[in-house]
Symmetry: C2
Subunit: 479 residues, 2 copies
């Protein structure tokens, strides 16, 4: 028998058809939700539930087994109990032999190596060996598989079908972590998503394979990863170093401590490895490592929404002194970012627009418009800062005064930002303190692609990350 | 002439009457808003706008000058332009001489020492000297004064009159920073506030005076401070060490870096001082120093809502592996917190309530109920953890499954928490990942006094702060 043809990873994201083996007719159950979401997302409607005890699930014809689906099936979701998974694997092998499709398999079933039993480990080995021998590739087991907002794929029961499209692709060892990110972001349009991969136990495909695939994916502008551990850390860093020459990778790593590692092991059977070694390796490879969940979420989404800064000279525009103090502290604390230098012309020009008590340039690079602001001042000063080549990025901070309406303020900020052509654009991060009181203004800005923040230090950390990555890119441009 | 009687600070928070000098009849202007808020908050209705050009402001009789107010006025708000402030100061002195009231003065006017001009500094000196010579005390200038939700006082134009009552008292050098906290918290009832003080330039009263006052204030359960700098740092630490034996102080410090210090100087003319020295001094005095705005907000509000942990043994209850890994990493990273030890009885009992695939005790102190949960499991396991004397605190994490309703989940958690009498209560922090999708469930819990979080590492940092402060209190109990 000839060596089996190894299927391309693209089968996961561009399948001609998707089979859900273990589909359930019970509304609200995870295995029913999977079919529902797959159907809602599908562009060609080629979703095939498989369950010998049902004729129809969520309005789709149900098949008794994988073999009986008459149309091409590139992606198979295994959602049966662990004890039945081997039988499905054998059907996949048979289908590949007879029809040549079924090249991508997402094993969402749990109960394998993560159980830390000899039985679980043995079952996983047999399952993976059977599928791999057929040349098909596997994501999982113990995962939620994949989603793709542009191609209309969803094998999960938790990625909302109405997730906004965008340039962020997520690769995660924790489905819960990644879907929380998407759900957190949805209402305010904070994040636009392209691809979503829940890796689970990584018995076949792991971060390396998905990174390589997404590196070539034009719609992926930034890759965001939640990682617990990987066997081939060297290989991960090598591929990461290649990817970061083209697009940013943001990572948050679980298992920094030995107790955290124990949790990760019980979760996805991962060996977290030495934290400091990962830290150094990420830095060398140009991977941006977030130290908190908030930093991870915001950095990933801002890399998608904003252009990279061309340097490290940042201007601060504010109406609030205390939050700006906190912001500047955070911004300059690593030594990678400076406040911009304001020319005399810029200061003179800014003074024309603002009240006499405004603070322009003390310290250099800093403007406090005071609470005596109107929308036009925002536009005028932002235009000035956007047009100045000595400024590489801007952080704007406000507690919007009651006398300025949300839509007026949002329009004024957007007008200032858009006063320069695209090639002159630089990152503008807007901090809107005051919680839900400014939710509408934030949403209006986010919808126009202008990222907003609740807290001044969150914005500062994101700007540091952008400056760091941009510097890495410039250093490694010609290699 | 006899030495003037120095008025008690209580005049700011329990005034028989409040005069607003410089009140404005223009709706929406700050000086109109001050009168509006003062009126809305007042319990006795004794608010007296002063402006020679108006007869009535927001429905209140307006007086031509301070002297003509026939009723007792304990608190005077100076809101005139800086150039007119000295005239008001002289009236205050006269009123104190003739009527003996006007003992508390909030100077909200700006344009003094923070301008960094000889003129601004000179004006501030004269103003303060004139008022102090009369025995009255001053908050400001360049501030928003005070608010008190229980006594019905508000001299600000930004503390919402409907701010929920509670045990957090805020002392801030930045009004914007502190009011952002209140506005951020209001909709979801995240924070209950008692007193609010915006200190501004601190020409008379500073952190030391307000700390001493709030230490004796029974309704103040925790003091939250935003600080840029203080001249008498030694005095601050001495009084703080006394206060922290009775109630927690949480601080966030602006001006960690020299550029941040420059911003602070332009803001409130503060000298920020050496960051490391503050750090060590705060630690010695038992003051909890937050490293981010989110940590500051959450720590302050949780100290108010939850009892202190009696030790450092924390249990984790979860349905989400990845976020729990991040949480445990953060929780144990400083070495001050351990995971609790589960007895065999506890594990056996927990197993009765949960599905077979649940992870109970791997690692020790950790329970993953898996996604196969129902509301009753939450109640049963929480009751078990609340009743176990080997556990000092609990962090619970979830992305609520679609099949559990918000109010059912909130009720189940509250029932588990309330299954023990008050003296056995321990902190329970609930992380509800998924943003606005769980906003209702979070609000239901917050309304019952159970704090919730968006991010797992935020909850972990708060728990570390509670354990740290509780250990400090035990070590310093008998001194």
């Amino acid at each position: 028998m000839a060596e089996p043809f190894t299927a391309p990873i693209d089968n996961f994201f561009n399948p001609r058809g998707v089979a859900v083996v273990g589909a359930s007719a019970t509304p609200g159950s995870p295995n029913n939700q999977i079919v529902q979401f797959a159907k809602q997302m599908s562009l060609n409607g080629k979703v095939f539930p498989v369950n010998p005890r049902s004729d129809e699930i969520v309005g789709l014809k149900c098949y008794p087994d994988l073999m009986s689906i008459p149309e091409p099936v590139d992606l198979v979701v295994i959602a049966v109990g662990a004890q039945h998974s081997l039988g499905v694997a054998r059907q996949i092998a048979r289908r590949r032999g007879e029809k040549g499709d079924a090249g991508a398999v997402a094993v969402v079933t749990a109960g394998f190596k993560e159980m830390a039993t000899a039985e679980g480990e043995q079952l996983q080995s047999e399952l993976i060996a059977t599928i791999k021998a057929s040349g098909a590739r596997i994501i999982g087991p113990n995962c939620q598989g994949v989603a793709d907002t542009y191609n209309g794929v969803n094998t999960t029961f938790s990625v909302p079908p109405n997730t906004p499209k965008g340039g962020v692709s997520v690769i995660s060892q924790s489905a819960a972590f990644a879907t929380s990110f998407l759900r957190w972001a949805r209402d305010q349009k904070l994040v636009g998503v392209n691809k979503f991969v829940s890796l689970g136990n990584m018995a076949d495909l792991d971060f390396r394979d998905l990174l390589a695939y997404m590196s070539d994916d034009e719609k992926t502008k930034v890759i965001a990863m939640y990682m617990e551990g990987i066997v081939d850390a060297r290989g991960l860093i090598d591929i990461s170093a290649k990817v970061t020459k083209r697009k940013p990778i943001v990572v948050i790593k679980g298992g920094k401590t030995s107790l955290g590692t124990n949790v990760a092991q019980s979760h996805t059977a991962s060996i977290a490895g030495n934290n400091d070694i990962y830290d150094g390796a990420f830095r060398q490879a140009g991977v941006i490592r977030a130290q908190s969940v908030a930093e991870f979420y915001h950095t990933a989404r801002v890399f998608d929404k904003m252009p990279l800064p061309k340097g490290n000279r940042i201007a601060i525009l504010t109406v609030v002194g205390g939050p700006s103090t906190i912001c500047v502290d955070e911004l300059v604390s690593t030594g990678e970012v400076s406040l911009a230098h304001f020319s005399d012309e810029l200061k003179k020009e800014a003074a024309k627009y603002l009240v006499a008590s405004a603070n322009i340039g003390s310290p250099d690079g800093y403007i406090d418009m005071t609470a005596s602001v109107n929308p036009k001042m925002h536009t005028d000063v932002l235009r000035l800062l956007m047009n100045d080549d000595g400024i590489d990025g801007i952080i704007f901070m406000t507690t919007p005064p009651g006398f300025i309406k949300d839509d007026e303020l949002a329009a004024a900020i957007a007008e200032g930002y858009n006063s320069v052509p695209d090639e002159k654009k630089k990152p503008l991060l807007s901090v809107m303190l005051a919680g839900n009181a400014v939710a509408r203004c934030r949403t209006l800005l986010e919808e126009q692609g202008l990222p907003t923040f609740e807290f001044p230090d969150d914005a500062a950390r994101v700007m540091v990350n952008m400056v760091r990555y941009s510097a890495y890119r410039r250093r490694n441009a010609c290699q």
